[in-house]
């Protein structure tokens, strides 16, 4: 792998800032759900934070993102404001989708967050369309679809990679391989050596990377971004990671290999990254603690503001179905 794009101090700190936000936000969300302050299905991304933190640091605000139900880390990393997010997952009218979308369907076009889907595999075909738009307009934007390892076995994955390859679309497919699809292990449902290897079938680059390593993840993402912006077409990145809290919060995770889970949690990439920044002299304990204090304060503010906001009126139920009332 070329090291042209290895991140320096500034970029690493930026990745850390996003990661710190994500880690704190997940913790607060789990607490809010467990205490009943929020009532929603929650697919914790804890353990996977490095992936979008590095990825989105390699992207611009204008670049497009299609993500999935387990995607709040992606959205926050891409810049969705905390208040809009929290109000949405609390079902309030001030939420980014007026409370209509909820945690599986957040949208925030101002930061390029175009679609969040709950249907496995469906982020990819739509990302292609966003990329086609950029190809048509020449606006230089890159589109990203994120999805899970389980999604790599559904038809839309195949159709999307093929189309992106032959149309040379400026799109990046980021598979966050957390080794489980709901309760089923990666090996049990996925044939072939790995997801990245499937890229060969379309003659596009397929990169398998440690998604918990900010340097490797950033480098892979930067390469894909540069490639896409240069008109050289799509890249498939398989980022290996692990989810710490099962599929959906509240799951009985007895189906998981508990030793594997324990090892993964002990190797938590967040404190590891933090420790390395200090050890390598890239940041001081105080600097990082300040970042953490800041994100915690902002999250708490967002929660308070969300929970104080009103719910939508029931009349909202039939609004936003069509753009305009039809005459008849």
């Amino acid at each position: 792998m070329s090291s042209n794009y290895e991140p320096g101090r500034e970029i690493q700190l930026e990745i850390f800032r996003r990661m710190a936000l994500l880690v704190a936000n997940d913790e607060q969300t789990r607490r809010a759900v467990r205490t009943g302050r929020l009532v929603m299905p929650y697919y914790s991304y804890r353990g996977q934070e490095i992936i979008p933190s590095a990825l989105c640091t390699a992207l611009s605000d204008g670049d497009y993102l299609c993500t999935i139900y387990r995607g709040i880390h992606d959205m926050l990393a891409k810049g969705m404001p905390l208040k809009d997010l929290w109000a949405e997952v609390a079902g309030r009218i001030s939420g980014t989708c007026k409370g209509k979308g909820g945690p599986m369907h957040l949208t925030y076009p101002a930061k390029g967050i175009m679609v969040t889907t709950g249907i496995v595999g469906s982020s990819m075909p739509i990302a292609n369309g966003l990329a086609w738009a950029s190809q048509l307009s020449g606006d230089g934007r890159v589109s990203v679809a994120t999805f899970g390892d389980g999604a790599s076995n559904i038809g839309a994955f195949h159709e999307s990679l093929n189309l992106a390859a032959i149309w040379k679309l400026p799109v990046i497919f980021v598979c966050q391989n957390n080794l489980y699809a709901e309760h089923t292990t990666f090996e049990k449902c996925t044939a072939g050596a790995n997801v990245a290897a499937r890229a060969q079938g379309y003659s596009i680059p397929g990169v398998r990377v440690d998604g918990n390593d900010p340097i490797a993840m950033y480098t892979a993402a930067r390469e894909a971004v540069e490639r896409a912006r240069a008109g050289e077409g799509p890249t498939l990145i398989e980022a290996i990671t692990f989810r710490f809290f099962g599929h959906a919060l509240g799951d009985n995770d007895s189906y998981m290999d508990q030793a594997q889970k324990k090892a993964a949690m002990e190797a938590d990439p967040a404190p590891r990254f933090r420790a390395r920044l200090i050890a390598e002299g890239l940041a001081t304990e105080a600097e990082l603690a300040a970042i953490e204090a800041d994100v915690n304060a902002r999250i708490e503010e967002a929660i308070a503001s969300a929970l104080a906001a009103p719910f939508p009126e029931v009349s909202e139920l039939t609004k936003d179905v069509y753009g305009a009332e039809v005459a008849a």
């Binding site: 009532v39 309030r92 909820g102 076995n153 709901e182 309760h183 089923t184 449902c189 719910f311 139920l317």
Partner: protein
């Protein structure tokens, strides 16, 4: 086999699958997270099956709904009776080709040489904040598809008896389970009992107004009937159980008797299952009804996330009672 007097729908379904697989070695099952190493289904409906019947007969699958239904169809063509699970009803959308262009049509297109005795179990419903892509009732699509049968139980005994009948049926059956009704209890099914497809049940007899419902809406309608009784209104409640082909005879007889019909479902009202029943009853009982047939269903909108909106989406006991009352007054 359960000795309890009451049981839940989850337990009844699990028992039906267990009994069917024990009785007939040709019954097989597949779906995402279905087998015991994966927890025996996300809700536990299939718990214990793979351990008891082996993991070639009961298989967890990749997330690949076309492959799931295709595998069920293929095995069914040569004598097996697959029960395929599509985890949530909205995901039938990725397998529609297999279901409607293949499962439903192969008997006809082959001139009766082959047939597709599969059951597609799926769950859905509003009420747990699952939002726009995980809550839809889409039974109208399948009712409109010639060759399919559509079943939607409302209580444990029916769930057991209908699932047993669906598995034994020689045609493809879509079997709809409601998520929040899974844990609701009711009289336990008699082991080995069957509820025939195509036959409604009259849950409550009455003389003033007929209410037709299915799936979880029956539970809301039962509460509505009770409330109506307190207001001196005698409502007859029919649980359709099989949505297609629906039990014309029972519905017509009741509507003819009461002269007033209210049809309730959770799906979008427009072009929903209620339209067919309303059209048929209005036509057949032309001049004999006391009031226009009334339909009460979901609004013309996707299912929203926000609690107050989601709560207003599906009909509830209160709105059912009001609609029935409006027909009577």
């Amino acid at each position: 086999m359960s000795d309890k007097d009451t049981t839940t729908i989850v337990e009844a379904l699990n028992l039906a699958l267990t009994d069917a697989m024990a009785d007939d070695g040709k019954v097989i099952a597949l779906g995402e997270d279905l087998a015991d190493p994966e927890g025996g289904g996300v809700i536990g409906v299939t718990k214990g099956l793979s351990t008891r019947f082996g993991d070639t007969r009961v298989r967890s699958t990749p997330i690949a709904e076309q492959a799931i239904i295709g595998a069920a169809i293929g095995a069914s063509l040569v004598g097996y009776r697959p029960v395929a699970e599509i985890m949530l009803m909205n995901f039938t959308a990725v397998a529609m080709d297999m279901i409607v262009n293949h499962a439903a049509k192969l008997r006809f297109m082959s001139g009766g040489q082959t047939h597709v005795p599969i059951v597609i179990r799926t769950m859905t419903g509003t009420g747990i904040a699952n939002g726009g892509q995980h809550s839809d009732y889409l039974e109208a699509w399948f009712a409109h598809t010639a060759g399919m049968k559509v079943v939607a139980p409302s209580n444990p005994a029916d769930a057991y008896g209908l699932l047993r009948s669906a598995i034994e049926d020689d045609d493809p059956v879509l079997f709809i389970e409601n998520i929040i009704a899974y844990r609701s209890t009711g009289p336990a099914p008699k082991s080995g009992s069957r509820v025939p497809l195509g036959k409604a049940s009259t849950v409550h007899e009455g003389s003033d107004v007929t209410i037709v419902a299915y799936s979880r809406m029956v539970q809301e309608a039962i509460a509505a009937v009770e409330a109506l009784g307190k207001e001196g209104v005698s409502a007859e409640l029919i649980d359709l159980r099989t949505v297609s082909p629906w039990d014309r005879k029972t519905v017509m007889a009741s509507a003819a008797k009461t002269g007033r019909l209210l049809i309730v479902h959770e799906a979008v009202t427009q072009f929903g299952v209620g339209a067919e029943i309303a059209a048929e009853v209005s036509s057949e009982l032309f001049g004999k009804l006391k009031k226009p047939v009334r339909r009460l269903g979901g609004p013309y909108a996707p299912v929203p996330f926000s609690k107050p909106l989601e709560s207003a989406y599906a009909p509830d006991a209160k709105r059912i009672a009001e609609a029935a009352l409006a027909l009577v007054r």
